[in-house]
Point group: D3
Chain length 269, copies 6
Amino acid sequence: MMAKPFKRLLLTGAAGGLGKVLRDRIKPWADVVVLSDIADLGEAREGEEIVVCDLGDKAAVMKMMEGVEAVLHFGGISTENTFENILHANILGTANIYEAAHKLGVKRIVFASSNHTVGFYRNTDYIDATAPTRPDSFYGVSKCFGEQLASYYWDRTGLETVSLRIGSSFPEPKDRRMMVTWLSYDDLVEALRQSLFATRVGFTILFGMSNNDVAWWDNSKAAHLGYKPKDSSSQFDASFPDSGQYPDQNASVTYHGGAFALAEVRYKD
Amino acid sequence: MMAKPFKRLLLTGAAGGLGKVLRDRIKPWADVVVLSDIADLGEAREGEEIVVCDLGDKAAVMKMMEGVEAVLHFGGISTENTFENILHANILGTANIYEAAHKLGVKRIVFASSNHTVGFYRNTDYIDATAPTRPDSFYGVSKCFGEQLASYYWDRTGLETVSLRIGSSFPEPKDRRMMVTWLSYDDLVEALRQSLFATRVGFTILFGMSNNDVAWWDNSKAAHLGYKPKDSSSQFDASFPDSGQYPDQNASVTYHGGAFALAEVRYKD
Amino acid sequence: MMAKPFKRLLLTGAAGGLGKVLRDRIKPWADVVVLSDIADLGEAREGEEIVVCDLGDKAAVMKMMEGVEAVLHFGGISTENTFENILHANILGTANIYEAAHKLGVKRIVFASSNHTVGFYRNTDYIDATAPTRPDSFYGVSKCFGEQLASYYWDRTGLETVSLRIGSSFPEPKDRRMMVTWLSYDDLVEALRQSLFATRVGFTILFGMSNNDVAWWDNSKAAHLGYKPKDSSSQFDASFPDSGQYPDQNASVTYHGGAFALAEVRYKD
Amino acid sequence: MMAKPFKRLLLTGAAGGLGKVLRDRIKPWADVVVLSDIADLGEAREGEEIVVCDLGDKAAVMKMMEGVEAVLHFGGISTENTFENILHANILGTANIYEAAHKLGVKRIVFASSNHTVGFYRNTDYIDATAPTRPDSFYGVSKCFGEQLASYYWDRTGLETVSLRIGSSFPEPKDRRMMVTWLSYDDLVEALRQSLFATRVGFTILFGMSNNDVAWWDNSKAAHLGYKPKDSSSQFDASFPDSGQYPDQNASVTYHGGAFALAEVRYKD
Amino acid sequence: MMAKPFKRLLLTGAAGGLGKVLRDRIKPWADVVVLSDIADLGEAREGEEIVVCDLGDKAAVMKMMEGVEAVLHFGGISTENTFENILHANILGTANIYEAAHKLGVKRIVFASSNHTVGFYRNTDYIDATAPTRPDSFYGVSKCFGEQLASYYWDRTGLETVSLRIGSSFPEPKDRRMMVTWLSYDDLVEALRQSLFATRVGFTILFGMSNNDVAWWDNSKAAHLGYKPKDSSSQFDASFPDSGQYPDQNASVTYHGGAFALAEVRYKD
Amino acid sequence: MMAKPFKRLLLTGAAGGLGKVLRDRIKPWADVVVLSDIADLGEAREGEEIVVCDLGDKAAVMKMMEGVEAVLHFGGISTENTFENILHANILGTANIYEAAHKLGVKRIVFASSNHTVGFYRNTDYIDATAPTRPDSFYGVSKCFGEQLASYYWDRTGLETVSLRIGSSFPEPKDRRMMVTWLSYDDLVEALRQSLFATRVGFTILFGMSNNDVAWWDNSKAAHLGYKPKDSSSQFDASFPDSGQYPDQNASVTYHGGAFALAEVRYKD
């Protein structure tokens, strides 16, 4: 039997929506999958270790990452929230992950970034990874921060990152915008696999979308990853029939970031 | 039974080559298809209304467009002609269509533009929709005019246009150049469908070609339409066997615009 | 005494605002300056010939251009108007000039184009001559038409054009926007001189602006003309003192085309 | 006597190196200059108000900014430090400034950003404002954060920012690298003036450098500001004579960020 | 029976690795295939002529090329060697081929160039044919020379070239890098066919790779050739299983040129 | 007294047109200037050493370069010639210089390249250093070779090169084309000075032209050199008065390479 690629692989945010999806699917990649969340993760199964951990707690993060060889960093808040909460979970939390990774010699992180880093582009804009970011929320700003931090650690220390700007990863698209941004679970797993095992990635940004008919994002700057999505949202075409009713009644399709770009500014008072 | 997307959809140039092809194929998109031409269109069939109309006649155009929700503007002269004729049919005619559309609240026009807007590019030039136009004829200049007018109405009034730069839409390619520029009827209809029903298009230029082996045009600037041609001219490869006889004896392949780019200047004396 | 460069040089629109400015200044360039307008031009002075002519009259244009070696085409309507008027004066009129020039072997035309070809760009957009046009008026669309026609004649027949996209050519800037778009009369004349006498120009677009502090247009695509403006609107800085009152009260500065971009659609009813 | 452009203008970081330089020079721009720092600012002089304030204290920031019309945000830590300190002063502090500005209707902020946002570019890279950031320090990452936040507030709320990426603003260059990155005090003040009073800026990035012989940064994307530096580091050429000793002994010139790009990772243990 | 496209087609380097592969496969393209090498080629078979020839011998080359209509130039040294040997075989040899082709009226050459013209790009660089060359060896420099010479002959004389930058053309990939650069024999033959029979090619650079998952090269600048590879190295995925062992132990994947880019400088002493 | 920057500086081609100009002007840069040519150089003056040397003689080149710290490589044939002569003097000669430089630890070479590397661009093309080369002669091809070799040595060994693509360096322009391409002797010397003493250059291409009104070349990719020409060909405007006689009678202005691009192919028979 072939050895698994990693001895220890860390998945943060393992209790989250995508974390649950990934929990079983990533097992073939490591002898031990370390699952971390601030929420309850239940019992550890075979090949798992569970760490309940606030990523804003630097010492706890350092301890959790001992012996880890690579990280799938899905932890933190995954939607809009107060700036204070975002600051703690996403900004400080990510900084703790990277500093621990650097200190402990982890070689690669796959960072769950988001389309909300570029959420204020219009639907007629077709962009690649070099387009200036235009975040649509504190959440989006925090993902930009994570990418900049990753860029810094790569240039400074050689710690590699693939920043996966996830579109909409659900069982199926929920509205017209998600016909564009949809990332099937199978394609998500494949994107992670390519990101983890490509020979050399430096700091790479990959847009996480399936092979949908409409595309807003050009992945040619990540061609060295070899990501080839197998699914397409076109299987759900019938759910969104042709209509002469144009954008205004569902403005969420106007921006890459959808409803985020239309939301009110929120801040803890 | 599902309602059709539009109540009234106008097709101008309905008696022309492509107009005849489209007459039946677009019926599923509207309760009533208004068919317009300066030439005879025969009897109206079920779900059709027929208007014989000179597009250069502003009042007639205004009347014809009452209640219309969207336009497939294929009318005018579709090949080279005297400047005076082009001026009337293509320039004045298109201006009348747009002004009426604006006044009557039409939301979207699909404009039958042409590869002759860029006909003076060479076959080794691979261009996208932002390449400066290089028309090869008065006809091509008039299509550039139509695009500029459409851009103006979008920026000024919010009236949306997809400008479809049609390559060579025939049952099959007639020469080597058309192996590159060929647009099958099925793909034409699909391009129109995407153009009519995409959620938001602003002013978009789409090159109308099938999925041929050789390509001169890059449609990435229209990626938000999701146009995915199904046909390819490669099915006709056997009609144009390999040959060591190079371009000079058939110079029409030298320019995107083919024979147009090689024609003499014509003007009414 | 050195011979003048041209025997006969035509200036159309000679009774217009800029035509009057140019009337004397271009005399050193030709033995005979042919001055044309639909309006009265007064008495011919030494070295002048005067032709009252509707540019929409093809035969008259043909006659006027006999023996002419080069053209400064400033004729037509120079501000927004009904489409019909624009169609006649600017579209048909320019077509007549080009066809006559081609038939009579004129080698070069300097076409008075306008910033209104790109009037819907925002003030934060810095564009060059390859940026897709975004006209802000029927007037702007007609100037786009003229440029496309000029491109066509160059590719087809070798007739050369410099299209001078004039900003705001007045004795001094009248508002903040004109601080950006101002073209002094001296710089206008120099731009015309470079355009007429550069060795080979093909079809070149030159933005007509002085060496102002703020710039919206990059002339590097016309570097082969060697146009080096000597004046700057900064001499008028004191007329527009610093203010913390921001754009909204004078939105004309928001778009390259200024008030044109904010005007209502006008059309002859 | 002409009214000053602003009633109240806030300068944060007023006790810092550049803050002291600016304290007197910005007086002509406002009836009252509000000077803020966490350090002592001495006595308020005529036309000044002094606020000692930790920018990480949201309520204090809110209070300080009442009635303020525009902000020169120079506050925070201006060199490398522990991540925790940077997080508080630069990330939370800047978030507080922006949120208060938004809530209170401030229209424009000039943000003192830094060349360290792009510090890992090499000296042979010539970049403009659209080049992906490559921060060289936690400090640089925090400046990227500020820029992203500013982009977000512009897209979301219309609050405008000029992000001034300051090179090296000292009385004179201290080493060869600063011959490239030097920004004279006079040019700094002029850059601030242009940034404050340009008619419309949206979110603009301006590289802050004088008119030095060697340049790493192209300001064409900020051409709408009209920034024209008057000084040049070439006046100090004699301080750095020609030498056949090449880069290795002074590697700080190798990267845009100089010594920052060569520093060790620092983190509070 | 249909006539073959060429009467005489020359293949140089016919005794080399790829020459042997091509010997039979190109027979359908010509009545007579002239096979040339400095090494022994065995007996001529039907439809073949054999010429043993040092390409550095100008008179011999001239004689060999009489009556030839097109050339597949695979001759010369195909790996790193001393500069003197490269100079003779690849630089002088190629110059002799081109001058003879020009003098004898040959219309098109397919030049076997190499990925080693761009071998010093990193694996994260995705480049097209306009990227400045970065050769990784004397061999690579000699291929750049051949391309420049071909460009010169095209501009000067109209002699056309497709420069095929061959990746790794072997029965199967031998290491991870070749998973990216692999060109199957079938795809090689198809690339040659398209290059020989496309209607007009001017001077075109085509990257020779199969449809592999990972790509470093963008062939859009050669879209007019219609090259559509049928094979993919993904069929060999199992030979290179996922691994958490990253680049350093097999640095050859770091550069497009692989081991060439890591080799020592060699020179004949 | 300040020490000179170099102990030994080599100038090849010292008996050529520019070599003679440079002989005295470069003395301030080195204790000993080694002057090399195949032609007679007369007596060595103070601070000079003279080596008569065929650059194609590798051993002689090696000997000549002992102790040399930097090279101004102006040797070889400086105009069109037979391929054989170019091969020996420019290709083999330059290879010998670079290999000796590498073996002996020379740190930087300034290579006298030429506008003839891009001679087939048209006068309306404005290009920078990343534009694909289009040589107009064997001479131009040999200069492309030199640049590729320099790129190779930089990537492989760290030996730095500035490739100075000299326009037309004469006391004054001889025709209209040289009004564009002129490089005054003072500006040539300044370009060499910047190239020799800039802190880090890697492989940099600099177009050698004065600050002329018309420009074909954009030096922004060499902005790190700080080359600021002081002279302009506009001082010679009176020698080339305005004329309505257009390009055809002096076609040399049509291409960057001038008469070279129009010359016949020459080859030793």
